[in-house]
């Protein structure tokens, strides 16, 4: 991370090294913000990500509306009740919708092309957002054609797991 920005001690500011704005014809001042964060997962998400590390996808069930939501939640967004019942979900589901990202922007999560999809895991009452992959994505037309035939997908796990969302590498067509 350190090589991606440098500190200009004289001007008391940071400059992100791997980004340039289009050339301007007037005088400007760069002021990049580089800030550290340390986010608390809280017990629910800690447990959810621990599950991923073991190759399990957990949801929680609302005792009031009975819905199973994934990723696990502390509370039901519609009933506001604590969601204390943990449910392990099947690792297969159907694709609700998807998009093929084929352009670049600063801070992007991975090198395009890649597919982001909404995947409704069996038994779950909401969709999980994740990558869809496991086949050649280089030709957008071929991808469109292929995706017309795909409705079911299955989780593919990363070899190395760090208890984060990337423990699932992507979902591949079944």
């Amino acid at each position: 991370m350190a090589e991606r920005y440098k500190v200009d001690k004289d001007l008391v500011r940071m400059e992100i090294v791997d980004f340039t704005f289009p050339q301007k014809e007037y005088k400007t001042s760069r002021h990049d913000t580089v800030l550290p964060y340390n986010w608390a997962l809280g017990p629910t998400w800690t447990k959810f990500f621990d599950g991923l590390k073991e190759g399990k996808i957990f949801g929680t069930r609302c005792k009031k509306c009975n819905k199973i939501l994934v990723p696990a939640r502390t509370f039901c967004p519609s009933c506001y009740e604590d969601m204390e019942e943990w449910v392990e979900l099947p690792q297969e589901g159907s694709i609700e919708t998807w998009c093929l990202v084929n352009y670049k922007y600063y801070g992007q999560v991975k090198e395009p092309p890649y597919i982001i999809g909404q995947i409704r895991l069996d038994k779950a009452d909401c969709s999980l957002t994740h990558f869809i992959g496991g086949f050649d994505l280089s030709d957008p037309d071929k991808v469109r054609k292929k995706m017309k035939t795909v409705s079911r997908v299955k989780a593919v796990w990363s070899k190395e797991k760090h208890a984060d969302i990337y423990d699932i590498a992507y979902f591949k067509p079944v």
Binding site: H31, P36, A40
Partner: protein, 387 residues
Amino acid sequence: MGRAVAVIGTGQTKHGRRDDLSYPDLVREAVKKAFEDAGITPKDVDGVVYGSMPSMMEGVAYNHFYFADALRTVGKPLFRTETCGSTGQSVAHTAIHWVASGMADIVLVVASEKEHEGDAQATMMTILEPFLMVTIGGAPVAFSLQSREWMGYYHIDEDKAREAASIVSVDSHDGGLNNPLAHIRVKLTKEDVSKAPIITYPVRLYDVCPVSDGACAVIFASEEKAKKICKKPAWVKGIGFRGEEYFIGDSSKAVWQSTIEASKEAYKEAGITNPLKELDVAEVYNPFSYQELMFLECLGLCPPGEAPDYVIKGTFSPGGELPCDPSGGVLCCNPIGAAGLIRVAEAALQVTGKAGEHQVEGAKLALSHAMGGAMQFNGITILGSEL
């Protein structure tokens, strides 16, 4: 004038270092308590106002989206109000205008901060544009600049100011001990404060607020609803807000116009002519003890340049003529975005007799205050037990 508005319920989290909870869950803790306190359900609410410090603080932009479920705002309108440190006052003002205008009957106001998830001083420096007001420092510098300007302007003796600031700190920390939700709960003596390590001279460790996580929720209602729902509402008597120029040198920070004018407006609306006599308790925003001295003057609670004398003779101490920050104030708890709303909530608790161990006996009229920006903004809300 518009319809009368009242506070019908408040909720605060346990403030402090809350690594035990994710940020949305922290927000929910305050919201749940406010609903329980008001005895209403989210169905009764017409809309929500949310505010925090700039979302760069915790690294989630427009965090009201992230908190939509925790705020119970799904299916309802939401206003996102932010005015820097005075955000907590400004969110309350948005709700008060909203109810007074007749476009809503009950509005939930929430403000929060989870400072342990970011670097507060580094974030604070992003208030400044990068080429004209550049400095090293953060908030302590800005406020020690202000304190010294005030001392210099009135030729206040350094030792006297030190003593008064120590009293402010000791009183606040005593308040914190009486407030189970406060972040800092320690017993201090004047010596502890005046001999503590220097942060930015003359400001020492216990002259400075902590870095806190916390959220606060306050429910406002129209007169009709308040009377129906709530046995003892806290009525909004007056509000005021002012901001001055961006460049710090443009106006005096010793005679702080935005505090003076904002409080004048609030007093006028509340029909207060002698605030020191008429107010029963004040929740003054005091992230720095020296700054509170200057606020006491600019809020018209004592003559200009005489705050140290009044503080030393006990006017603003517990049992004094106008106790300040019985909750412990910002010195004992500073989730920045929420801190201004906590002042409103505390004022409401005081005038409704619900402040528990830190209750000021018989308080009927309370002032709450917050400031923010590059020493630019001041907001005031005055609450009373009677309409």
